[in-house]
Amino acid sequence: MTRWKIRDIAFDFVDDMTDDPVVTVRIVTPVGQLTFLAEPVMVGTTLVLKGLHAQDSAANAVGPANLIVIAHAVMEGMDLDGLVIKGAVRSTGANPGH
């Protein structure tokens, strides 16, 4: 799979405009749309995304190399030194519900 450039990716967000620490991000990529929802927390200059949910069929078509491109796009765009992702309850795969 071709490795994307950061300029190939676009972001938009949905927020409930309160102090509730939950954000949804839609990422438009060359293989389609990805949607993530998580509880973001800044720890120094590292963004921690707790309880991450993902959906959309493009999720399986991204590949690890392009996930890193997305992560770099986030870190560059938000001026971060680190990005930590902590998953939520499984809805698929082995042992859903855990």
Partner: protein, 170 residues
């Protein structure tokens, strides 16, 4: 999220507010995970709940609880149409059913079923005789709390009596 974090995300792309339903009534639903079918679209489900007045965090917790337990009850503050909620959740792969409130309790019928006079019923369940009379004659309606208590009596008269009797007198 707080404003400083929102500013950081805004450097990446536009931020829009969730499209909340602006008018409607509270409604309670039971949500279930279907035994088969594709995995649920959890983010769509969270948004469907948040659009009806739950905070995003409460909506997220509710969906996560559903994934863990397979069933969850949810009280949505602003429901424009119960069918719209069940349709939205069905599209997200979640079975939802509206629980219709049945708050009507025929107080006289309940008391007579238990074979009690007004005085006996009032003493047994900690009510005032005059209040009972007003409910039975239709002069007044029990409020939500009283209706819930009466429903509990109707469903389990002896355990409620025992629970009430066990209440320590201060």
């Amino acid at each position: 999220m707080d404003s400083s974090l929102r500013e950081r995300f805004a450097r990446l792309g536009p931020i829009r507010a969730i499209d909340r339903v602006t008018s409607g009534s509270p409604a309670v639903f039971v949500l279930r995970l279907p035994l088969d079918g594709p995995p649920p679209r959890t983010i769509d489900a969270i948004h469907a709940l948040a659009r009806r007045g739950l905070s995003m965090l409460r909506a997220k917790r509710a969906v996560e609880s559903l994934l863990e337990k397979g069933r969850v009850f949810i009280d949505l503050p602003t429901v424009e149409d119960t069918r719209a909620v069940t349709d939205d959740l069905a599209k997200a792969g979640i079975a939802a059913a509206w629980i219709q409130p049945d708050l009507t309790v025929n107080v006289r019928e309940l008391r007579e079923r238990l074979d009690l006079t007004r005085e006996q019923f009032a003493i047994r369940y900690g009510l005032e005789v005059e209040t009972l009379r007003n409910w039975e004659t239709g002069k007044r309606e029990p409020d939500t709390t009283a209706r819930s208590y009466l429903r509990a009596i109707a469903n389990a008269p002896e355990p409620v009596e025992q629970a009430y009797a066990a209440t320590p007198v201060v």
